[in-house]
Amino acid sequence: MGFDTILQILIQGLNMGLIYALAALGISLIWNATGLFNFAQGDLLTMGGFVMLSMFAKWSLPYPLAFLLTVVVMGLVGYLLSQGFFYPMFSQGVHPDIIIIGTISLIVLLQNGILLTWGPHPQRFSTPLGDSPVHFGKIIVMPYYLWNIAIAVVLVIALQMFFKKSIVGIAMRAVAQRPVAASLMGVRTNQLVALTFLLATGLAAVAGILIAPIIPLTPEMGSIVALKAFAAVLIGGLGSFAGALLGGVIIGVAEVVFATVVVPTYKDVFIFLILIAFLLFRPRGIFSSEISEKV
């Protein structure tokens, strides 16, 4: 196998890894702020992709405007979900495990809603950067790979800063770690839960927009991506954004390398063996955050 081929494989792996990482960021955000796993995060990502499809590909809005509107619309969807679904359960003291199971019902609701609204046909849209491959010698790179790398890195840095430095971010972490104590200290749990879901769903929308040119939009697409994204979160370290990014990249590169060097058919088996190995020998992941201590 030549150096060119190895490099090409690594680029393909990085591309897939960023897809998982983008989905994993939203999962990490909700975990950071609420201590919950939202299994429907992948389907919110799908919905974001479809909303962008309508705005950009169907209604021909300019890409930046469609991007922004999609994030806003999905942020509102997240806000409504928090107020109509998550917060009522929080406020009634429903056990977090029950809420997590409840998110599975959201998957069914969202997938069928998407099916009814946008139909069953797989769809995609391109980016303003186009679909023509860029050649670096024998290496071929699609322009949206570079675009996705830039966005993912910016998002990770922004989220890290937000949770470490801003008052709101610190308050969100406080609510996740000690909700009663945070409430007694004057933190408005309701508003923070709403903000968390607004942000996480907006983030899912960004991921959906960036993923759509690579993975066709179908009602079930998000669940397929989310499975690997959850693995990325666990490998990278629960609650760590850098961990989500690294976990995603590890999974993406590992599966492409395994598929090339060993056999493509069992690449998923290999990935989940890696996950099991992490759970056995490093259960807190690569970058274990303070919040993950509560597990």
Partner: protein, 386 residues
Amino acid sequence: MKQHKCLLLLILSVFVATMLLGGCKQSQPKTLKIVHLAPLTGAASSYGFHLVDAAKMAVDEINAKGGVKLPDGNLVKIEYIEVDETSNSAGAIDGARKAISLDPLVMIGPNRSGGVLAAEKLWKEAKIPTITDGTSAQTTRQGNPYTFRNQISSEYWIPLLVKTAAETYHIKKPAVIYGLNDYSKANWVATEPAMQKYGMKPVTVQTFNDNDQDFSAQLLAIKKSGADSIFLYAYTPEVGKITRQRSELGMKDIPIFSERAASDPAAMNLAGKENFEGMVTTTTLSTGDPNPKIQEFIKNYTAKYGVPSASHLCHYDSIYMIADIVSKVGLDREKIREALSKLDYQGLQGHYIADKEGNLVHYMNSQVWKGDKWVLLQTENYPVAK
């Protein structure tokens, strides 16, 4: 007291007789009920709607003319009900149970071979003639006299594809990539013997799992093998993704030979028109077929439902076929089954003849996507095994 008992007995007798008569009356269907098991959700739903729309179009046409004329001269309307079989085997079993509970005269579907194999015992026990889709040769080899197929087995999809590759494109070093599902595996099984006939042998054989998103490992292996073509067997989304990734990896000059999933417009939408040029497929119905009747049908379908997936319009003919049989034998399942097993019927899309396994289709076309449309390449009729 005795009078009261007699009266009570009389009332009970009248009641029982009424129930029995009512029951008899209920078992006499007033309509020609057809239940269509189609993939309306799940991975195959993109063409599930084509399957249903084509059948509905025929139902609407027949009902608009008053319905189907029975041998006794009465007219019956077709009652058409679609049931979602969710594109998987478990869904096909659930869907078949639901369909049977609706007491249809005839069933259509399921769509995928795995679904047919999973659910066929149910309609065998219920003794309901069922016109299925799947292309795996095994679906009509289960010894089920109630299973028929309005599709052609993969044993016939592939020989014409290989013949077209060899004779029209002079392919010498094919690579094969297929999904690990019953449908694609059956196509692969039929490939080697077909290639041997033309002195071809795959230079590499690659596989993938359904719902995989990245195929770079397989495509790079194909590139490395020096293949002059790719034989691609997959469901529609994977056909689109692989065709696109082939171009992204600088392999656009290696032509793809595929089958009916590639004729679904969704495959081209996903791949991008610029990457789809030169795609060769086999199909039972080609929109490039110059036959004026077929062109008119395609035009009417497109006006009503949008761009068709030509290989998935087969149940337009299934509905007319059932109507024709019912007009001769009446609303009797066993007689319909018998008529289907001896079928010799000229439909719009082709001539249907039942073979000993219940396969009704014995013709095939190959086509190429060229300059924004499908162009018919070759047509072949296969012998019917009686």
